[in-house]
């Protein structure tokens, strides 16, 4: 049993490393994009796509599938890398990111890319969309679950709290949100720009079950997701403590790496660091 868990975690760690390499290559090739918030959420997205979510890449619109909504749509490179590795489209296509004619738009377009569940990019909208999908699941008595990834700056948007209130009101226990708590947004630390803290107390007072997790530790993340699936009568929130730019030393915790691509040389340096990881 324990051995199996070890194996799973090794597998997920390897996947995470692979996704990080894709992200760096994609951004360097595109010449623009968002590395920091893509890298901070790698373990969250890896745990979901390679263990938690019930999906069928050959049938992306399978009605009973679990849904993942990337509300912080600027982390599109991470989502695309996970979808490609999962088999929704060829891995080679990743390098077309942000180019004219590519399906891989700068922010996710659900009509273009199989596996993308929501068109996001305008921050603050994904939790509402996830709630709508969750409510439809309740009406239809389906047992799919909906996961929504939010940024810790993103939750400054009022709509997030409208959705938080509504999800608790409608007892959407098939809805789980994850806050990528990397502490940074564009203009600086979230606590300095406009503090959304304390997170747990706010969400609890809105009627959510809340749990914190190390956002880079698969053991903790998997535990948090299985806890979330057991919560009844309330929506659940996982506050995932992360490091922006995680895995690339010169990008870690660096506000400047929110929204710029590495040069070819910087990408080489990043990939070298990721290989020894």
């Amino acid at each position: 049993m324990n051995q199996e868990v070890e194996k799973l975690i090794k597998y997920l760690e390897e996947k995470a490393r692979c996704l990080r390499c894709h992200i760096i290559r994609m951004l360097a090739e595109a010449g623009s994009g968002h590395p920091g918030g893509s890298l901070s959420a790698v373990e969250i997205v890896t745990a979901l796509y390679f263990h938690v979510l019930r999906l069928d890449p050959r049938n992306p619109s399978w009605p009973d599938r679990d849904r993942f909504v990337l509300s912080k749509g600027h982390a599109a490179p991470l989502l695309y890398a996970a979808l490609a590795e999962k088999g929704f489209f060829p891995v080679e296509e990743l390098l077309t990111l942000r180019k004219l004619g590519s399906r891989l738009q700068g922010h996710p377009d659900l009509r273009k890319v199989p596996g993308v569940e929501a068109s996001t990019g305008s921050l603050g909208q994904g939790l509402s969309i996830g709630l709508g999908i969750a409510l439809a699941g309740k009406i239809d008595r389906k047992n799919y679950r909906v996961y929504v990834l939010l940024g810790d700056g993103e939750i400054q948007e009022g709509q997030v709290w409208e959705a938080a209130m509504a999800a608790a009101h409608y007892r959407a226990d098939n809805l789980t949100a994850i806050v990528d708590y990397n502490g940074l947004q564009i203009d600086g630390p979230v606590a300095e720009v406009l503090s959304p803290l304390p997170l747990a107390e706010k969400w609890r007072s809105f009627g959510w079950e809340v749990r914190e997790s190390d956002g880079h530790n698969f053991r903790e993340l998997l535990e948090a997701f299985s806890w979330a699936a057991r919560v009844q009568g309330k929506p659940s929130l996982v506050i995932a403590r992360t490091v922006k730019g995680k895995g690339v030393p010169f990008m870690e915790n660096a506000v400047d790496w929110h929204g710029k691509a590495p040069t070819k040389e910087q990408a080489e340096e990043a990939l070298a660091a990721l290989k020894v990881l």
Partner: protein, 324 residues
């Protein structure tokens, strides 16, 4: 097709919406309805009574209202979303843009209390730019019914249509213009009255005013065509061009700002296909104000008499161009 003047009853378009929604709820099991604490005013409360499990009151939170509707549509539902037009299109514009129109989701935004006929509540509640906002969004269709009969058919057509639709409804009772045999076809303007001396393209409650205007003009020997442009997007370009060519004198009439609504849409078509003198009857770059609906219609220049004046002006311009 047209009801005769003497028999004219008055029914609010939102009232007709409340009724047809219940019928559609029976026909479409996937139809769900969302409101933002205005279900008694928008008349979605009727649906809520009959189908409580398919009705969601999302509270006074219009951005989440639109986003939740998007999610429901993604999971196979047909959401009809209602609130006042000003809040639907203004407060939640970016949500409509990015969560609904861009992914072309099957969400029907059916907003009531559009235009100045909201009345006493005043400018804060009078959407005068909603057609303009919705018309400029790719994938979005825009329908403005003229009466209760048309509202029922238009809402049914909107639900049957694939993709996002904005339907604009009003608060006060308005004359029932059309009988049950009236045919509504999405995207097809209806020529209610033929004529070659001028053409009035009208939408919403201005269709009734346009008919009155044409009748009075006919009594003076001037035959003016009246076209009900219920679908503002996609616009029936063929009908606009045909009648503009035939008459050479065009008037538009809408309870909406002259910027970006029906008048603009027709001007765009004339400009590209068949330049012709045009006078737009509409709200001229100002906000609404408090008052009784009919007082406001007069004060804002939105009556049959205003349309008659517009017809006379545009005919003079045409004749001037023709060297008459």
């Amino acid at each position: 097709m047209l009801e005769s003047g003497s028999r004219q009853r008055k029914v609010a378009t939102r009232e007709a919406y409340g009724q047809v929604l219940v019928e559609l709820g029976k026909r479409y099991p996937e139809l769900v309805v969302l409101d933002a604490d205005l279900s008694k005013s928008t008349k979605t409360a009727e649906f809520a009574k009959v189908f409580p499990d398919r009705f969601f009151n999302m509270g006074i939170a219009e951005q989440n209202l639109m986003g939740t509707a998007a999610g429901l549509a993604l999971a196979g539902k047909i959401p009809c979303v209602s609130t006042f037009a000003v809040f639907a299109t203004g407060r939640a514009y970016d949500q409509i843009r990015n969560s609904i129109a861009y992914p072309a989701l099957d969400v029907k935004i059916i907003a009531s209390h559009a235009g100045i006929t909201v009345g006493e509540d005043g400018a804060s509640h009078q959407a005068i730019e909603d057609i303009s906002l919705m018309r400029s969004l790719p994938n979005m269709a825009v329908i403005v019914p003229a009466d209760a009969t048309e509202t029922k058919k238009a809402v049914a057509a909107a639900v049957a249509h694939r993709g996002p639709v904005y339907v604009r409804l009003g608060r006060p009772p308005v004359p029932v213009l059309f009988g049950e045999d009236y045919k509504f076809r999405f995207g097809e303007a209806v020529v209610l009255r033929e004529g070659s001396d001028a053409v009035i393209f009208a939408t919403g409650i201005m269709v009734g005013e346009a008919l009155k205007a044409a009748e009075r003009l006919a009594a003076r020997g001037s035959q003016v065509a009246v076209v009900n442009v219920h679908t503002i997007k996609p616009l029936d370009v063929e009908t606009v061009v045909r009648l503009a060519r035939k008459t050479g004198a065009v008037v538009t009439a809408e309870e909406h700002t002259i910027y970006g609504g029906l008048g603009s849409a027709v001007a765009e078509v004339l400009g590209e296909h068949c330049p012709a003198p045009l006078v737009r009857v509409g709200i001229r770059d100002r906000f609404g104000e408090s008052g009784k609906p009919d007082e406001l219609m007069k004060a804002f220049g939105l009556t049959a008499d205003d349309i008659i004046r517009a017809v006379e002006i545009v005919q003079k311009r045409r004749d001037c161009l023709l060297g008459k």
